[in-house]
């Protein structure tokens, strides 16, 4: 990419501009920052209620089997209570992955169509900003708040969960490399993937409604993974997460490059009404 640093003054200016507008939109602020905390509340509530549930030995054995696949280093034998909690907690990892995707995706889907609707796109594109700078800035502006909110809420979850689960479960599930790598690495990578797709949709669809409807379809594969994991069809283990992170990170770069190639200034001006 020509023009020096990737995160240059123009990219930062667009990010600041996006955030300044977001701050003034209470709905966007609320929908970005409230869901992570709601999920944390839900996870903690589930943990608390789970202490009242009793399972038969066969169910415990099955849960242990599933967990031993996701946590290969963990050879401990779960007691009944921990088995229930582990079974209930594990899908929350996928939910934490979905959190920063849904709202940033909506923001990203609106990013270009919104400029067009606001009639600011023509003036923006007549400045020296390059297409890749604009799209990168829009993607980062949409992704960063969602990722930050997820990390923030996960820290709260870590602190609160310590008081609701046994030390064994806490150290071997919640603090496991699988969970930590997933939250710290997969979250931003998945989010960038989703917002890049959202931006492509936004620059190809003529109106915000269409962009948001198409954008919502991006979440469906993740929902599918979550259901598959709950059913035991997919193992969300450490090596799977690292492999996924690598593949999706490469896909992020390719998607952003594709977004730049697909961005047609002329079509936006001449084809959109």
């Amino acid at each position: 990419m020509k023009g020096g640093k990737i995160i240059n003054g123009r990219v930062i200016a667009v990010i600041e501009n996006e955030w300044a507008q977001m701050r003034r939109n209470r709905v966007v602020v609320l929908t970005t920052f409230a869901p992570p905390f709601l999920f944390v509340g839900l996870a903690l509530t589930v943990l608390y209620i789970s202490s009242f549930i009793d399972l038969n030995p066969a169910a415990v054995s099955k849960i242990s089997g599933i967990l031993s696949q996701s946590l290969p280093s963990t050879m401990y034998v779960l007691d009944r209570s921990d088995a229930v909690r582990a079974a209930l907690l594990n899908p929350f990892l996928i939910l934490f992955e979905m959190l920063p995707i849904v709202v940033p995706l909506t923001v990203a889907s609106y990013s270009i169509t919104g400029e067009k609707q606001n009639r600011s796109l023509e003036t923006l594109l007549s400045t020296p900003i390059r297409t890749w700078e604009l799209l990168l800035a829009k993607a980062l502006a949409a992704a960063i708040p969602g990722v930050a909110a997820t990390w923030y809420s996960f820290v709260i979850f870590l602190i609160a969960a310590r008081f609701l689960v046994t030390r064994d479960l806490y150290q071997n599930l919640i603090l496991s490399p699988t969970w930590l790598i997933a939250i710290s690495l997969l979250t931003p990578i998945f989010t960038m993937f989703a917002v890049s797709l959202g931006i492509i949709i936004s620059s190809r669809v003529k109106d915000p409604q269409g962009a948001q409807q198409l954008g919502s379809l991006i979440v469906l594969p993740l929902v599918g993974i979550m259901i598959a994991q709950v059913l035991g069809a997919v193992d969300v283990n450490f090596s799977a997460i690292l492999t996924t992170a690598l593949v999706v990170a490469i896909a992020d770069v390719l998607l952003l490059a594709l977004a730049v190639r697909l961005f047609r200034r002329e079509t936006i001006f001449t084809g959109w009404k």
């Binding site: 123009r10 501009n17 009639r119 003036t123 923006l124 007549s126 020296p128 390059r130 001449t270």
Partner: protein, 349 residues
């Protein structure tokens, strides 16, 4: 003066339809150039091509020496654009809007702050700098947008219908500001429907209908279309010795006589007045006055007729383009008779 904008045979086609075709034009440094044309004439397409938003299908154009196709980023650094809509972020304050655009032009933090303050004060918006743009009237928004387009001190300013959505007061504010930009060394291209605006602001005007129909100063356009005419109003046309009796007939006969004087073109008669077309009124008017006085005429008014740009514009855009050719410099065009008055054929000027 250096030509900051050089356009050569520029064209843009949408499917089979040419929105702009074969446009050739140079615009000098410091010049305010008006682009006049009806809806669909291609004015906005020209602006978008010059702003590197739309790629030409034919021809070329340079701004400050940079090609609009090969060096779009360099071109964009040197232009400011103001469109019909303000193009501002409603949720942001006036100051934030200006500072955002200033940063896109890589200005230093001090310049960002200083220029935003300068233009907000210049345009009388400083007191409301912290108010969201959404709370501004359309006139104030357009002024703010004007400041946005100037924040990086562009060499060329593209103004596309800057006053068309404004009330008369707002339009005057914007026009006054455009006028105040004269003499600052930057070229301004002003697309407008408003002929009075073009007449009062522009050094030269181009009349566009897909292609350039005519270009020249407003005065040149008026005079080239209709020729220069001088009105001679007579007090005693019915009582001239040696001429037949009866008002109307005498002045018509007199007009025929005047039309045979060297340098005189067509002569039209309306009431007590003769409208005499000529190339050079300063040269020929005294001779005509002398002749009329010798015939016993009492002359109560001698004045050159001012034709409005509006009339010239309406006449031009209502004719097929091929009548005028691809491009015409106003000064090279053969004068036409005034269309609204009866004329008497005279000696060719």
């Amino acid at each position: 003066m250096e030509n900051l904008v050089v356009i050569e045979r520029l064209g843009r086609r949408y499917a089979k339809h040419w929105a702009v075709n074969d446009l050739t034009l140079n615009i000098e440094q410091g010049e305010i150039f008006g682009v006049l044309g009806p809806n669909g004439a291609g004015k906005t397409t020209i602006m978008r091509m010059l702003a590197c938003l739309v790629t030409p299908s034919a021809g070329s154009a340079t701004i400050c020496g940079y090609d609009i196709v090969r060096d779009p980023t360099e071109v964009r650094k040197r232009i400011g654009i103001l469109t019909e809509s303000a193009g501002l972020y409603d949720a942001l304050s006036a100051q934030e809007n200006l500072q955002f655009f200033a940063k896109l032009y890589d200005l230093s933090p001090d310049q960002v702050k200083g220029r935003a303050e300068y233009y907000l004060k210049l345009l009388g918006l400083w007191e409301r700098r912290r108010d969201p743009a959404s709370t501004f009237s359309s006139g104030m928004k357009q002024k703010l947008s004007m400041a946005r387009s100037l924040i990086h001190e562009p060499s060329v300013l593209l103004l596309d219908e800057p006053t068309s959505t404004l009330d008369p007061e707002g339009a005057k504010l914007v026009r006054d500001f455009i006028y105040s930009l004269k003499g600052q060394g930057r070229s301004i291209i002003l697309c407008t429907h408003n002929l009075a605006e073009a007449q009062s602001l522009c050094d030269r005007v181009g009349i566009i209908k897909r292609t350039l129909l005519r270009v020249g100063t407003p005065h040149q356009l008026q005079t080239s279309l209709y020729g220069r005419q001088v009105e001679f109003r007579l007090a005693n046309v019915g009582r001239l010795e040696g001429w037949k009796d009866g008002q109307g007939e005498i002045i018509n006969d007199l007009a025929v006589a005047v039309s045979s004087i060297d340098g005189v073109g067509d002569v039209a008669v309306t009431g007590d007045s003769m409208f005499v077309s000529m190339d050079d009124p300063d040269l020929h008017t005294p001779g005509i006055v002398r002749y009329l006085v010798e015939q016993g005429a009492e002359i109560i008014r001698v004045a050159e007729v001012e034709h409005s740009l509006e009339r010239a514009y309406l006449d031009l855009v209502s004719r097929p383009a091929e009548v005028w050719g691809a491009e015409g410099e106003a000064s090279s065009h053969t004068p036409h008779p005034t269309p609204h008055t009866p004329t008497i054929g005279g000696a060719a000027a």
